[in-house]
C-alpha cells in the first residue's frame, strides 16, 4: 500500500544517469560504466546492490530467448471504487502508469522455457503503481497458476510489490485470498511453485502468494516484510536494527530457502526445475 510514497533515492539509478556513460550505484555511489551496469544487470560490481528490474528485463535474463508467450496482456486495472483523492482519480493514475510502463498491469504472466524447461511465470513490475496487488494483478496470477495446474508445469513468481492496491479497496485485499486459492491447488496437485522475492516484497504480497511457495528464493538485500518500517517504528517506538527485513534477515529467521545473486538466479532456477523434472 506504499508504492505512491516518494521513491527512495537509493533506487532508480538506471533511470537517472550521472552522465551518459556512467551510472552511480544508488547504494555505495560508485560510478559504474553504463554497459557494465546494464550487463550485470543493474547489480553494483562493488557493493552487490541489486537495483530493481522491470518485468521485461527480468523475463529477458530468465527465459530462453524467444520462448516467452504472454498470457492475458489485455487484462488491465479495474476501478471498483471509482477512487479519487479529490485531485487525481485512480483511473488517471492508472492510465499514466500504463503510458509510462507500456504495461496494463503490475504483473506480466506467461509461459516460456527456462534452460529448455517449460515453465509458467509471473513477474511483477514495481514501476507499475509500486507493483501493487490490484484485481488485474490477482486475476493474472490466478490465471497463470490455473494454467500451470492444467498443464502440470512448474510455476515461478517473481514478486516486487509494496502490497495491496489501496485504490481498489477491499477488492484488492481479496486478491490475497484469490491468489492463495490458486497456489493451494498447486500444492494439492503436486505442482512445483517457486516464489522469488525481489526488492521490495512487502504487505499484502508478502502475506499471500510470495510466502506460500514450496521454495522461497530471494535476491540479496531485498526488502521483505509485512509491515512498513515507519509503521513498526511508530508502534514499538524504537529504531529498527540494521539489516531488519532484508533477505539475509529472513534467511536467518527461517523464511527463505536460499539467496541467489542475480547472475546465478537463472542457473539456480534451472537446477531446481531440472531436479523436479527428472
Amino acid at each position: 500500500m506504499a508504492w505512491f510514497r516518494k521513491r527512495k533515492n537509493k533506487h532508480g539509478a538506471g533511470e537517472g544517469l550521472d552522465e551518459n556513460l556512467w551510472v552511480v550505484c544508488p547504494d555505495c555511489k560508485t560510478h559504474v560504466h553504463r554497459d557494465e551496469w546494464f550487463a550485470a544487470p543493474k547489480v553494483c560490481p562493488k557493493c552487490v546492490f541489486h537495483d530493481r528490474l522491470t518485468a521485461r528485463e527480468r523475463l529477458d535474463i530468465t527465459l530462453d530467448p524467444g520462448t516467452f508467450r504472454e498470457f492475458n496482456p489485455e487484462i488491465s486495472t479495474s476501478d471498483p471504487l471509482l477512487f479519487t483523492d479529490g485531485k487525481e482519480s485512480y483511473f488517471t493514475k492508472a492510465e499514466a502508469a500504463k503510458g509510462r510502463t507500456g504495461l496494463n498491469e503490475a504483473v506480466v504472466t506467461g509461459s516460456g522455457k527456462l534452460d529448455d524447461q517449460t515453465v509458467t511465470v509471473a513477474v511483477m513490475d514495481f514501476r507499475f503503481l509500486g507493483g501493487s496487488l490490484g484485481s488485474g494483478t490477482g486475476e493474472k496470477i490466478l490465471l497463470a497458476a490455473d494454467y500451470a495446474l492444467r498443464h502440470r508445469r512448474p510455476f515461478i513468481v517473481f514478486s516486487a510489490s509494496g502490497g495491496a492496491r489501496m485504490h481498489e479497496g477491499i477488492v484488492s485485499l481479496m486478491q490475497m485470498a484469490k491468489t492463495c486459492a490458486g497456489i493451494a491447488r498447486l500444492h494439492k496437485e503436486g505442482i512445483p511453485y517457486i516464489s522469488v522475492l525481489t526488492d521490495p516484497t512487502t504487505g499484502g504480497v508478502s502475506a499471500s502468494f510470495a510466502m506460500a511457495g514450496d521454495i522461497h528464493i530471494a535476491e540479496p538485500r531485498a526488502l521483505i516484510g509485512f509491515a512498513g518500517r515507519r509503521v513498526i517504528e511508530q508502534t514499538i517506538r524504537q529504531k529498527l536494527p540494521p539489516g531488519f527485513q532484508t533477505a539475509e534477515y529472513l534467511l536467518e529467521h527461517g523464511f527463505i530457502d536460499l539467496i541467489a545473486h542475480r547472475r546465478d538466479m537463472r542457473n539456480c532456477l534451472s537446477r531446481i526445475l531440472r531436479y523436479w523434472k527428472r
Partner: protein
C-alpha cells in the same frame, strides 16, 4: 469534543433526560407522563434522522465503539458452550486471537476470532486485537483440528490489523497470514466468517476466508485504515472521514462488490444500543449459514470456495 466521535451526543442527552424523568415519574406519573412521551417521540425522530444517513466515517465510529459487543460477549451470549484451547504449539499463546470448541444450538463448530479488550489492562494483554504470528498459527492449528473432526469453522473478525511489531516480523507475520490463506483455501470443512467490528486489512483476512462471509450492518472492512489512507493520500490523518468514504468500507458497499455474502442487521444506531438484539441476529445468521454449508461434500466445498474467490475482481466483471 470531537464532533466526529460524538455525533450521537444529542441523542445521549435526550436519553439521559428521559431516564431522569422516568425516575421522577415514579412519584408523580401524571406530571411527567406527557413530558416523557414528548421526549420519546423526539428521540425516535432524532434517531431516524441521525442514523438514516450515517457517513462511512460515522459507521467507523460505531464499528469501533467501546461498548460494541466483543468476541467474549458473542461467546457468552450465543454459544451454549465454549471450551477455549490455547497455544500454537510453536512459540506462544496469543490472547488477541482466541479459539476453541463451541456449540451453537446443538451445532458444533470450532470458533476462532480476534479478541479486543475493553479495559486498558485487557488491551495490553490482547494487544487491542492485533494478532501476532502465534495467533494466526493457533488459528491454523484449530482449523486443522476442525478438519480432523469434520467440524465447521466460525471465524469472528474484529481487529485493527495484524500487529506491526519487530518481533512479529521476526517470527514471520507475513508467512503466518500467507499460510493461513493457503490452508483456508483448501480446508475440507465449511468456514463461516463474520466481521463484527473492524475488519483490518491482512490481519482480518488472515482468518477471514470462508464459504460465507457475513458482516454486521455497522461493521467496516478495509484494505487500510481510513487514517492510514488519509495520511498517505493527503499527509493528514485528520482527513480520515474523506478516506473512509473513498475506500467504500461499509457493509453495503462490500455486499455490492460481492465480497460479503450477507449483512446481519443491527439495531438502529449500532450494536451497542441493543446488544441482545445484535447477538440474536448474529446467532440466526450463523445458524442459517451452518445449515447451508453442511449439505456439501468436502470436495464440493473446496471447489465452491475456490470459485467464490476466483470471481472476486474477475476481469470484465467491472467494465
Amino acid at each position: 469534543m470531537d464532533p466526529q466521535k460524538d455525533f450521537d451526543q444529542e441523542l445521549k442527552d435526550i436519553e439521559a433526560k428521559i431516564a431522569e424523568l422516568k425516575l421522577l415519574a415514579k412519584d408523580d406519573s401524571v406530571r411527567f407522563g406527557t413530558e416523557i412521551a414528548q421526549l420519546e417521540k423526539e428521540k425516535a425522530d432524532l434517531e431516524t434522522s441521525l442514523y438514516a444517513n450515517l457517513s462511512p466515517w460515522q459507521i467507523v465510529q460505531i464499528a469501533r465503539h467501546p461498548q460494541r459487543p466483543l468476541l467474549r460477549d458473542y461467546i457468552e451470549g450465543i454459544f451454549s458452550e465454549f471450551i477455549e484451547l490455547h497455544g500454537d504449539r510453536r512459540f506462544g499463546d496469543d490472547a488477541g486471537l482466541i479459539g476453541g470448541l463451541a456449540t451453537i444450538e446443538d451445532r458444533r463448530a470450532v470458533l476462532i476470532g480476534h479478541q479486543k479488550g475493553r479495559t486498558v489492562e485487557d488491551n495490553v494483554k490482547m494487544n487491542f486485537g492485533m494478532a501476532n504470528p502465534e495467533g494466526y498459527r493457533k488459528a491454523l492449528r484449530l482449523m486443522k483440528l476442525a478438519e480432523k473432526f469434520r467440524l465447521p469453522v466460525i471465524s469472528f473478525i474484529d481487529t485493527p490489523g495484524a500487529y506491526p511489531g519487530l518481533d512479529a516480523e521476526a517470527r514471520g507475520q507475513a508467512e503466518a497470514i500467507a499460510a493461513n490463506l493457503a490452508a483456508m483455501a483448501s480446508l475440507e470443512v465449511p468456514i463461516i466468517v463474520i466481521v463484527t467490528g473492524e475488519g483490518g486489512s491482512g490481519g482480518a483476512l488472515g482468518i477471514g476466508m470462508g464459504d460465507s462471509v457475513l458482516m454486521l450492518a455497522y461493521a467496516v472492512y478495509s484494505v487500510i485504515s481510513p487514517e492510514g489512507c488519509a495520511s498517505i493520500l493527503w499527509r493528514d490523518g485528520a482527513k480520515a472521514p474523506e478516506a473512509a468514504a473513498a475506500l467504500k468500507i461499509t457493509a453495503a458497499s462490500l455486499l455490492e462488490m460481492g465480497v460479503v455474502d450477507d449483512i446481519v442487521p443491527e439495531p438502529l444506531g449500532g450494536a451497542h444500543r441493543d446488544p441482545q438484539q445484535t447477538l440474536a441476529n448474529v446467532k440466526d445468521a450463523l445458524i442459517k449459514r451452518l445449515k447451508k454449508h453442511a449439505r456439501f461434500s468436502p470436495k464440493k466445498l473446496v471447489e465452491t470456495r475456490y470459485e467464490k474467490y476466483a470471481d472476486i475482481g474477475r476481469w470484465k466483471n467491472w467494465w
